[in-house]
Amino acid sequence: MARILIPTPLRQFAEKNDTVELPGATVGEVLGALTAKYPDLKKNLYNDEGKLRSFVNVYLNDEDIRYTGKDATAVVDSDVLSIVPSIAGGKNVR
């Protein structure tokens, strides 16, 4: 199970949880499980074409998934996924 950190503005769509543990072998599968569990998250995270919205940054541990294989990035147990809005750079988060 990977741990997903939910940012404050999205917790209202995730039963107020700040972290959620979900299964999945890739980032895409884990995020898919997340939006299946909390469907209201979907329009906040994805555009109409089903791609992550351009201001949504997802980090696997400390790495931006844009540079590690995007949705196909492999996930193992104990990994931490962070969802962070790009408010001003959005890098060097943790």
Binding site: Q12, N44, L45, S54, F55, S86, A88
Partner: protein
């Protein structure tokens, strides 16, 4: 012409955005070019006024440390003015503020306290309150979200400048809400001095967004200075549209501005299209809050979907 740094805050140009208003005859769109301020943003105005008001009231004295939370531009303004006036400055900001921004603050000599990225600007607000409450005599805490000197800066300067620069012709003022100081102060002045002017607020369409420095009031800590009775209505702005407008402004107007400025022009263009559809004319003014320099590492510049060509007008 003032030779004093602080004397050069305000009196920014009002730029007419002809290309943005193309195809909308009789409608003028203007951007108040706040990136001409010495600190590079609209926040020079409230930061200066809050510090001057603190000096007047005795809340700010030479031995105290100025402390506040900021997503960036107010911090840069505090740090710049603090350096020029000999004050120590300590700032709480989210970890995901850009590296460039942190370097600017440090260059001015400010001390930084980084808060959880996931909690955004609200996390920074909570942290500064903790630090201040633990030792209130040591700090001057302007609290830009609650300080009337924030909106009064715009009531006293931005509003009158816009009236003079449009020769009183302004019909609509529209701006995104952050602390809400720009919108509240400018609108109060306009509503006092310009008969019939309509003031329209804007907010990010969702609580989770990329419009730096702005607030989605339904899900955020609502600033004390916000007055929800001022706006005739509110427009909801998508981050993606603001990104596209930022790129369009740079290419078509030579106006290289930040994301909230792009969002503001989106809002102005929405109003312009509505007026055009109703067969009306108008003089619409919004605010170009800051320049693009602090956002150049963002991904949207390289994202083909955010390209100007994909803009549908």
């Amino acid at each position: 012409m003032s030779h004093d740094l602080i004397g050069n805050i305000g009196n920014t140009p009002l730029l007419r955005l002809n290309k943005i208003a193309v195809g909308l005859p009789g409608i003028e769109i203007y951007g108040k070019a706040e990136y001409f301020n010495p600190g590079g943003s609209v926040k020079d105005r409230p930061a200066l006024n809050m510090i001057l008001e603190g000096e007047r009231s005795g809340a700010m004295t030479s031995g105290k440390v100025l402390i506040d939370s900021t997503s960036g531009n107010t911090g840069i303004a505090y740090a710049m003015i603090g350096a020029a006036r000999g004050y120590k400055v300590k700032l709480c900001l989210p970890k995901n503020a850009s590296p460039e921004r942190k370097r600017i603050l440090k260059a001015y000599g400010a001390e930084l306290v980084l808060t959880a990225a996931e909690e955004g600007s609200d996390g920074a607000i909570r942290r500064v309150r903790e630090i201040y409450n633990a030792d209130p005599d040591r700090y001057f805490y302007p609290d830009q979200y609650s300080n009337d000197a924030n909106w009064r800066a715009h009531f006293n300067t931005t509003g009158p400048e816009i009236i003079a620069q449009t020769e009183g012709r302004i019909t609509h003022f529209v701006a995104l809400l952050g602390t809400s100081g720009t919108f509240v102060g400018t609108s109060r002045r306009l509503q006092q001095d310009v008969p019939g002017v309509e003031c329209i607020s804007a907010q990010p369409a969702t609580g989770f967004h990329g419009l730096e420095g702005t607030k989605h009031m339904p899900t955020a800590i609502v600033p004390k200075i916000y007055d929800d009775q001022i706006a005739s209505r509110n427009l909801w702005i998508d981050t993606e549209d603001a990104y596209k407008m930022v790129r369009r402004l740079a290419r078509e107007e030579g106006v290289l501005v930040g994301i909230s400025a792009g969002g503001n022009v989106c809002a102005a263009l929405t109003v312009a299209r509505e007026l055009h559809a109703q067969g009306k004319t108008g003089v619409i003014v919004t605010v170009l809050c800051d320049g693009a320099d602090k956002y150049l590492s963002e991904h949207f510049w390289d994202d083909p979907e955010m390209d100007v060509d994909s803009w549908s007008i």
